[in-house]
Structures are given as structure tokens and as C-alpha cells.
């Protein structure tokens, strides 16, 4: 074992911080006095997540500035890959978790009768699972991290015990999720059987030695991709999403609509690029097909939805389709559009999708339902919320001057560069369709008059969350340069394998 303690602790500091934070909050919940508990746990959680975020930034800076590649002991280095790509995604995951925490307190106060103090540590454990996942390069680690994320998500989605919809959503999410884990595990065992290894680098070497691709290797990969597809809510593995989104607590839905997608995309890229680059043609076509099905199905089924959370569920199935175009595309040697497209898209997606759910949270805190019909005249009764939702929806649709444009433009550019022009055409066609249902909400908010006046009195925290999300969406929209440049760091994912 390496004597240098720092080289072991340093790279995994974010995970350690999150793990300690989660345990601390769990224990603190039992001992703190009831009347102060909520405040203390909330702020500890926020500060802890902030620390984790800072540690990610520091590790990223250390790696980017140091001339030599990161040295990690073998037992750690073979299972976790702490590179710039993973760290950027860890920053995004922590950011998404912080936004989720910001929009939570009032909602859980309204909706939860018990278990309020366990809510925050569970969210932290979800974040821990996702941060581990983006670094995992060993099938076992991938599986464990994924199960950690998933188990916490099942519990959180079904957290409103008195609400039958929430319970049903949690149950359905759990059953489908468990089945998908089994499928993924079967794929992993096939891969292990064919290659004799669980870490991705060895798998790659074994496949290269096999020469022509074995059908069983392909079957294993397809099953694993199917498993990841469930976590990403990519069609045709999306069946759980609409129910889970509709029934789950809105802030949690905001988190699971964004976080697992980041982690899932990172895992997918790691597995495909590090483990299976020899059969790129096969998986590229497979991912392209999943992308196309997701975009078409998600965007078309979103149109008739009457419930905004359901509509956003289908929209997020469409959104993951766009991101998967990036996964299917070829990396470029210089000025890579693909990796920067994926990262920028995920960053933008975190702001706009959590932002949209934050507005949904605010509206439901005011006693209105999640039916789109209840958003009538929101522009008059709460201009801030209406304008915020307009910005987020415009961004989801990819309209300038919001950030959504750049995510889409980079991804479609990568597709055209890679010869996937048909995917880009499907993509832009779907964005046009998406305007129809996104702007249906805008129509209801701005064109119609409210039937009954409502007062919106939201806490500063929720407002802060919304304003951070708007600022992010508009700032990246107007000046995306630093983010695109930053996202380039991930392009060595192929070169350095």
C-alpha cells in the first residue's frame, strides 16, 4: 500500500465528505431538539454539500495544474477513474443537489408528516452514489454505486407515505428498477464470463485479443446498456419515469430527473469508450437507435399531457435522447464538439430542468395542483415565476438567448461531424415538436386570465434556487465561452485510456 496518505484521500475527498455528511446528518437527526432540528440539518447539509463541491473544484484544479498524471494506488486506480471529465460531472452533481436542497424545505414542511430529518441525509446519499458512479471504471463498483443511487431514489420517490400516488410511484420505480438491475447484472456477468475481468481496461484488452467480436460480448454489452437505459429513462426503457415524476415529491423529481442522467451518461461513456472501443461501430448504432426512439417517443407523448410533472417526465425522455446523440457521435481530435456538447448539455440541463421543477414546487406550495390548467394567468399573479418558467421552457426547447441552444447546437454539430446527419434531422424536428408542448404552458401562463387570484409567498431559499437557475440559464446562453472551453477538458477521455 502506498505510504502517501494524501494520494489516496485527495482524489476521493468529495466522496468521503459526502459519506461523512450523510452519516452525520442521520445521527444528528436522532439527537437534536425537535424545534431546532429542521434548521440545523438544512444548513449543515447545505454547507456540507458546498464543501464537497469545493473539494471537487480543488481536485480538478490539482489535476489540471499538475504536470504528471494522477498517481493512485493500484487497488483504487483500477476501480475509480478520477479524471477531469469525472470531476466536472461531480461538480455538476453537487450543484444539482444543492439546488434540490434549496427548493426542498417549504415543500417537505407542507407535504411530509414524518421523516423530515431523514430526507436530507437520503438526498446526500443519492449524491454520494452519483459522484461515485461518474468515477467508477469497474463493473462491481459501477453496480454498487448504481444500486446506492437507485435504492435511495426509490425511497425518496415514495416518501410521501400518506399520498397514494407517491407510494405507487415508489413501488413502480422500485420494481422496474430492480428488474433493470438484474438485467444489467446479467450483462455484466456475461461480460465477465467472456473476458475474465471486471475492470474496463482489462475488458478492453481481452476483447482486443478475441479479435472478431464474439456475439456473447455484444449480448453482454446490450444488456448492460439496457440497464443503464433504465437509469437514464431512455426509451424504450422509460416506463417508470412518468409515474415516478408525477407521484414523487417535486424537489426529488427535480434531482432524479437530472442527477442520475449525469451519472448514467458518465458510466455509459466510460464503459463504451474505455471498455468497448474495439466494437464502436456496433454500440454507436445501438446508442443512435436509442437516441432516436427516445427523442421521437418522448416528444410526441409529451404533447397530450395535462399534468406538468408528467409532461416534464416525457420531455426529459426526449432530452436524454439529444444527449445520447452525443454519446453515439465520434470524438474529434481537436476542438471536440462531442464531449463539450455532452458536458455543456448536462450543465444546462441541470439549471433548466431543476429550475422548471423549482417553479412547479413554488406553484404547488401556493396550494395549486400540478395540472397545467392551474397555471392560468400565472404571468399576472406571479410575474417572477411565470418569467422564470418561460426562460426554463425556452431553454429546454433550445431557443436563444437561453443556454439550451448551445447544448443542442454542440450536440447536433457533433452528429453532423460524425456523419449522423439523420440523427441531427430527427433531433431538430423533435425540438420543433417540443416547442408545441413547452409553449402550451407558456400560452396558459401568459395568454389566459386567472380564474381565482392566488397569492404566492415563497421563502427566500426557493426564490434563491430559482434565481440561481435563471442566472445560470441566461448567463450560459449569452456567454457560453468559458463553459465550452471548460468542457473541453473531458476530450482526453479517449486519448488517455
Amino acid at each position: 500500500m502506498s505510504g502517501d496518505f494524501g494520494s489516496v484521500i485527495g482524489p476521493v475527498a468529495p466522496e468521503i465528505i459526502l459519506c461523512v455528511l450523510g452519516l452525520l446528518l442521520l445521527v444528528a437527526g436522532m439527537f437534536l431538539p425537535a424545534h431546532r432540528k429542521a434548521t440545523i440539518i438544512f444548513w449543515t447539509c447545505l454547507v456540507g454539500l458546498g464543501t464537497a463541491l469545493c473539494s471537487c473544484v480543488m481536485v480538478l484544479a490539482a489535476i489540471a495544474l499538475s504536470p504528471e498524471p494522477l498517481q493512485m494506488p493500484n487497488w483504487l486506480g483500477a476501480t475509480l477513474r478520477v479524471d477531469e471529465f469525472a470531476l466536472v460531472l461531480k461538480i455538476l452533481i453537487n450543484l444539482a443537489t444543492i439546488l434540490t436542497i434549496l427548493i426542498s424545505p417549504e415543500y417537505i414542511q407542507h407535504r411530509l408528516t414524518a421523516g423530515r430529518s431523514e430526507y436530507f441525509p437520503l438526498v446526500v446519499f443519492a449524491a454520494l452514489g452519483m459522484t461515485l458512479l461518474v468515477s467508477a471504471t469497474d463493473l462491481i463498483t459501477i453496480y454498487v454505486a448504481m444500486e446506492l443511487t437507485s435504492l435511495v431514489s426509490y425511497v425518496l420517490v415514495g416518501y410521501m407515505k400518506r399520498d397514494p400516488k407517491s407510494t405507487e410511484a415508489g413501488m413502480k420505480y422500485f420494481l422496474v428498477g430492480a428488474a433493470s438491475s438484474a438485467i444489467m447484472l446479467y450483462g455484466m456477468s456475461l461480460t465477465y464470463g467472456m473476458t475474465g475481468a471486471t475492470d474496463l481496461a482489462s475488458i478492453r484488452r481481452a476483447i482486443a485479443e478475441l479479435g472478431s467480436p464474439e456475439p456473447m460480448v455484444l449480448v453482454g454489452l446490450i444488456l448492460m446498456v439496457a440497464g443503464f437505459g433504465f437509469k437514464l429513462a431512455a426509451a424504450p426503457f422509460h416506463m417508470w419515469a412518468p409515474e415516478a415524476y408525477e407521484g414523487g415529491p417535486t424537489p426529488i423529481v427535480a434531482l432524479i430527473s437530472v442527477g442520475p442522467k449525469m451519472a448514467g451518461i458518465a458510466v455509459l461513456l466510460h464503459v463504451l469508450e474505455i471498455g468497448f472501443p474495439e466494437i464502436r461501430d456496433h454500440w454507436s448504432a445501438l446508442i443512435a437507435a436509442i437516441a432516436a426512439i427516445s427523442m421521437v417517443l418522448g416528444n410526441l407523448t409529451a404533447i397530450p399531457q395535462k399534468n406538468i410533472k408528467r409532461m416534464l417526465a416525457y420531455s426529459s425522455i426526449g432530452q436524454i435522447g439529444y444527449i445520447l446523440i452525443g454519446v453515439a457521435s465520434l470524438p474529434q481530435s481537436m476542438n471536440d464538439w462531442r464531449t463539450s456538447g455532452i458536458i455543456v448539455y448536462l450543465l444546462v440541463y441541470a439549471f433548466m430542468n431543476i429550475g422548471a421543477f423549482a417553479v412547479v414546487t413554488a406553484v404547488s406550495n401556493a396550494g395549486l395542483s400540478d395540472d397545467i390548467e392551474d397555471y392560468r394567468g400565472l404571468a399576472q399573479s406571479s410575474p417572477l415565476l411565470a418569467v422564470a418558467l418561460l426562460v426554463f421552457l425556452a431553454s429546454l426547447a433550445g431557443l436563444p438567448p437561453t443556454a439550451g441552444l448551445w447544448g443542442k447546437a454542440l450536440i447536433f454539430g457533433a452528429a453532423i461531424y460524425s456523419g449522423f446527419t439523420w440523427l441531427a434531422v430527427v433531433g431538430v424536428a423533435c425540438s420543433v415538436v417540443s416547442v408545441f408542448y413547452y409553449f402550451n404552458v407558456v400560452r396558459v401562463m401568459f395568454f389566459l386570465k386567472a380564474t381565482t387570484p392566488h397569492t404566492f409567498r415563497n421563502t427566500h431559499l426557493l426564490t434563491a434556487g430559482i434565481i440561481i437557475a435563471i442566472t445560470g440559464t441566461l448567463f450560459i446562453g449569452v456567454y457560453p465561452e468559458p463553459f465550452i472551453a471548460m468542457a473541453r477538458v473531458g476530450q482526453d477521455i479517449v486519448a488517455a485510456r
Binding site: N335, A379, L399, P401, I416, A424, V435, F436, F446, I484
Partner: protein, 516 residues
């Protein structure tokens, strides 16, 4: 040659002053609509003054990009903030400044949610100005889309009974075209690698390089065409236009017809012709056919309308057809005709394109005035049914005189500006596409017919008793329409102020097109 002025900040000010005005508008106190209206008017007026300065300082004989400014914006993917105007875009920028000012002046009658209304209107101006000034494809795309959303809201909130349908139809139609254009832009981007090994979105660089060839170029040509044809709107993509026009508030219609339609024809001249000269030559006959169909079909459909606003809307389809045949004539391959020198044919092409560009400006002035006049009548009568009026001339002689004046300008009476553009476009086209020019004349006759028939039904005959108390056009409306009336006359007898800069740019463009 005149000194080409290099005032780097002028265009930035023209583009972003309205945006600044829009943001401040939202911060103004809620219960004081007069403050909001005054503020918006002042901003629009200052922008107009800047446009007038730009016109005065513009070196009219030069084909170069003037007032150009270029800064890196997103250098990591080769996007720059590059603005500039030449003889093609300068008149359109000035037209936008004028029509926005006129529209905002007329919009003083708006009392429902005035803050949002004027904020959207100023945002719209930023989008339109940026579209005409942008010399970077991404910047162009951004402004092109920005002009879309405010118009969606203007139609959807302040429009007529079917406003929601019209608003989303307008939005989706235009969006289909623009995303196709986005793909073509990306294809262009990756097909060209600069000397430093980097790709670029710069319009001038890409026009000079013309990187696409073969089937890809043909696809990109049609993708750009789709985007611009929908915006124009050219047959068969014109079906959003009557809905949008009829439902839009008056000021929205003025901008829609006066400026937004020009974005389509501007795009064809700015991008399709110089980027794809080969493909333009091959497809010129299709463009000519589309233009002729628009002229004849648009005029005939206009004739059949009973709604005054729809009539004006369909007259736009016809008038934009003249722009289209002018562009088609300029794009057509240079075929040697015995007894005619190449130089003569080249000049004919320049004439056709001059006519087309002049027609864009003229149509903006005339149709802007027409929609304003229709709005004036609608405010008083609350309907627009042509047959529901009659004999109004007795009650409102001043309004009637103005309506007759503008209608005559629209049907192409010599001495008013509508004639000049159509005449030049036809003159140039006749040398290239004789049949198309000949058929287009049918459209002119029909246009004259439906305008005169409309005037007859609305203004002449026995007075409809319901309107015996009809109010005359008021001072605000007179002031709003007056600048348009004056320019319609001036450009009708002396078009040189617009024609000179246009000619310089078009001459340059056509010669490059034929010598590529």
C-alpha cells in the same frame, strides 16, 4: 470613392439600445402606463435617430461592409460578434427603425398590460436589427430566433379572437425553417477549415470560401431556402401569414409585413445567392416559378377576401413575389443570346436585384401604412368586413384621401414608390425570364382591380347609416402615418437615396455571382 466610415459602436448601439429599453421598461412603475409609453417612444425615437445618422454617414457608392465591428464571442468554436451593414442591409435597418417608431407611436392606444407590450416590442426591434446586421452565422441565428418569441407574445396576448392558434402557428412554421437552417449552418462550419486549422462561422469568410459542393451544397441551399421561404412567405409556405396578420394587433401587423417578411428575402440575397452560386443557377427557374405563382395566386386570393386585413395580408404575398422573381433573375445562369452582350445581361440582373431590394423597402413603407389605416378603421368600427362599410368618404375625407393614396401606391401607380421597385424588378427579369415577366403583369392588373374595388366598396357609394357618426383620423394616427406617406412620395419620384447604396452592393454581388 468616398471614405468608408469606421464607427465601430454605431451598430451595437442600434441593436442593443432597444434591448436596454425593454429591460428598463419592465422595471418601470406598474400603474403609470403613460410613463411606459413615453419611455418606449423615446427609445424608439433615439434608435431611429441613430439609424438616420447611419444613413447619412454611410458611404453610398461602396459595396464594402461599413460600421463593421468584430470581437471574439465564443472563440473555442469560432463564433464572433461580427456586425456590419452594406447597401443591402442598411436600408432595411433604417426601415426597421422607422417602422418600429411608427408602430410604437400608434401603440399608444394599447391599454392592456402596457409594460409587457412595449418590452416585447423593443425586444423585437433588437431581434430584427441584429438579424440585418449580423455577419456571423451563429449571431444571425440567435437574432433570427430572438425576433420570433416577442412576435409570438404580441399576437398571443394582444391579438384577435383566434390569437392563440395564430401565435403558435406562426411560431412553429418559422421554427421549422430556422432549425433546417441551423443544420445547414453546422454543415457549412465543418466543411471549411481555415488556414489556422480552425473552423469558423464568419459569414464573409464562408461566402468567400464557398466550402460546400455537390449534393451537400444542394441540401444546404434548400435548407436555407426553406427557412427564408417560410419567412417571406413564398408559396406554398404562406398559410401562416393570413392567420398571423389577421389576429395580430395593428402594430404587430405593421412590423410583421414591414420588416419580418423582409428577413426572408434578405436572407435569400445575403446567403443563398453568394454561398451557393452553382445551386442558385440550377434552381433559378424554380424560384422564378414560385415568384410568378405568388404574384398571380396572391393577387387572386386577395381579390376574393371580404376581410380588409386579410386583403392587405394576401397583397403582401403578391408583392413579395416581385422580390422573388427579381432574385431569380439575378440567380439565373448567364446564357449567351445572339445580339445581346453579356454586359447588358449582367446589367439586367443587377437591375432585377435592385428592383427586388427596393421593393422590400417600398413594400415595408406601403404595407406598414396600409395595416395602420386598417387598424384605424377597426378601432372605430370593430369589424373589418369590406362590404360592411360604404360611402365613408363623406364622413372621413382625410382618412379616405390617405387610404386612396396608399392603395394607389400599393397597386403601383407611377409617381409613388410601389411602382419603382416593381418596374425595375420586371425590367430586369424581362431580359432573363421573358415568360415569368409576362405572366407577372397579370398580377399587376389583378392588384389594381382588387384595390380599386376595395376603395369603391369602403369609401364610395351611399353612406352606411351605421357610420354616420364615424370619427375622423386623429392627430396621433396622422403623425404616425405621416412619415410613411412622405417617404412613399419621395422615393416614388426620386428613388436614388435608396437605390444608390443598393445598386453598389447588388452590382458587386451579381458580378461575383457570375464570375465565381
Amino acid at each position: 470613392m468616398q471614405q468608408v466610415l469606421r464607427n465601430e459602436w454605431l451598430l451595437t448601439a442600434i441593436v442593443f439600445l432597444p434591448l436596454l429599453g425593454a429591460i428598463v421598461t419592465l422595471a418601470l412603475p406598474k400603474g403609470r402606463p403613460a410613463v411606459v409609453k413615453m419611455w418606449a417612444t423615446v427609445i424608439a425615437f433615439v434608435t431611429l435617430v441613430l439609424c438616420v445618422y447611419m444613413y447619412a454617414a454611410f458611404a453610398k457608392g461602396s459595396a464594402e461592409m461599413q460600421f463593421a465591428t468584430s470581437r471574439p464571442w465564443i472563440p473555442s468554436i469560432g463564433v464572433s460578434y461580427h456586425l456590419g451593414v452594406d447597401g443591402l442591409s442598411m436600408p432595411l435597418v433604417a426601415l426597421t427603425g422607422l417602422l418600429t417608431f411608427v408602430s410604437i407611436l400608434y401603440s399608444w392606444i394599447i391599454n392592456e398590460r402596457p409594460k409587457e407590450y412595449f418590452a416585447f416590442f423593443l425586444l423585437l426591434e433588437t431581434g430584427m436589427m441584429g438579424t440585418f446586421c449580423a455577419l456571423d452565422f451563429v449571431l444571425f441565428y440567435v437574432f433570427w430566433e430572438i425576433s420570433l418569441v416577442p412576435m409570438y407574445f404580441l399576437i398571443g396576448i394582444w391579438g384577435g379572437p383566434r390569437r392563440e392558434y395564430a401565435a403558435i402557428k406562426f411560431f412553429l412554421y418559422t421554427l421549422v425553417g430556422s432549425v433546417a437552417m441551423l443544420l445547414a449552418i453546422l454543415a457549412l462550419y465543418f466543411s471549411y477549415t481555415g488556414p489556422n486549422g480552425k473552423h469558423t462561422f464568419d459569414v464573409i469568410t464562408l461566402i468567400t470560401a464557398k466550402p460546400l459542393a455537390g449534393r451537400a451544397a444542394m441540401l444546404a441551399f434548400w435548407a436555407f431556402y426553406l427557412s427564408f421561404a417560410i419567412k417571406m412567405p413564398a408559396f406554398p409556405f404562406h398559410t401562416w401569414l393570413p392567420d398571423a396578420h389577421v389576429e395580430a394587433p395593428t402594430a404587430g401587423s405593421i412590423i410583421l409585413a414591414g420588416v419580418l417578411l423582409k428577413m426572408g428575402t434578405y436572407g435569400l440575397v445575403r446567403f443563398n445567392l453568394p454561398l451557393f452560386p452553382q445551386q442558385s443557377q440550377e434552381c433559378a427557374w424554380i424560384l422564378a416559378a414560385v415568384g410568378v405563382i405568388a404574384i398571380i395566386y396572391g393577387s387572386l386570393v386577395a381579390m376574393a377576401q371580404s376581410d380588409l386585413k386579410k386583403l392587405v395580408a394576401y397583397s403582401s404575398v403578391g408583392h413579395m413575389g416581385f422580390v422573388m422573381i427579381g432574385i431569380a433573375a439575378a440567380a439565373a445562369p448567364l446564357v449567351d443570346v445572339p445580339g445581346v452582350s453579356r454586359e447588358l445581361l449582367l446589367n439586367a440582373k443587377v437591375t432585377a436585384l435592385n428592383g427586388a431590394t427596393l421593393q422590400m423597402v417600398n413594400h415595408g413603407l406601403i404595407t406598414g401604412a396600409l395595416f395602420l389605416l386598417v387598424g384605424v378603421l377597426y378601432e372605430r368600427a370593430h369589424h373589418r368586413n369590406i362590404d360592411g362599410f360604404g360611402g365613408l368618404m363623406v364622413k372621413v375625407p382625410v382618412y379616405a384621401a390617405i387610404l386612396i393614396y396608399v392603395s394607389l401606391a400599393s397597386l403601383g401607380l407611377p409617381g409613388l414608390c410601389g411602382f419603382v421597385g416593381e418596374f425595375l424588378a420586371l425590367l430586369g427579369t424581362f431580359a432573363i425570364f421573358k415568360l415569368a415577366a409576362g405572366l407577372s403583369v397579370i398580377g399587376i392588373v389583378v392588384t389594381a382591380a382588387y384595390f380599386l374595388w376595395m376603395l369603391q366598396r369602403v369609401l364610395l357609394g351611399p353612406l352606411n347609416e351605421r357610420y354616420k357618426d364615424l370619427m375622423e383620423i386623429n392627430a396621433l394616427e396622422k403623425w404616425a402615418v405621416a412619415p410613411l406617406l412622405i417617404l412613399i412620395f419621395i422615393l416614388g419620384v426620386y428613388p436614388a437615396p435608396v437605390l444608390d447604396p443598393v445598386n453598389a452592393a447588388m452590382d458587386h454581388l451579381v458580378r461575383n455571382l457570375m464570375l465565381f
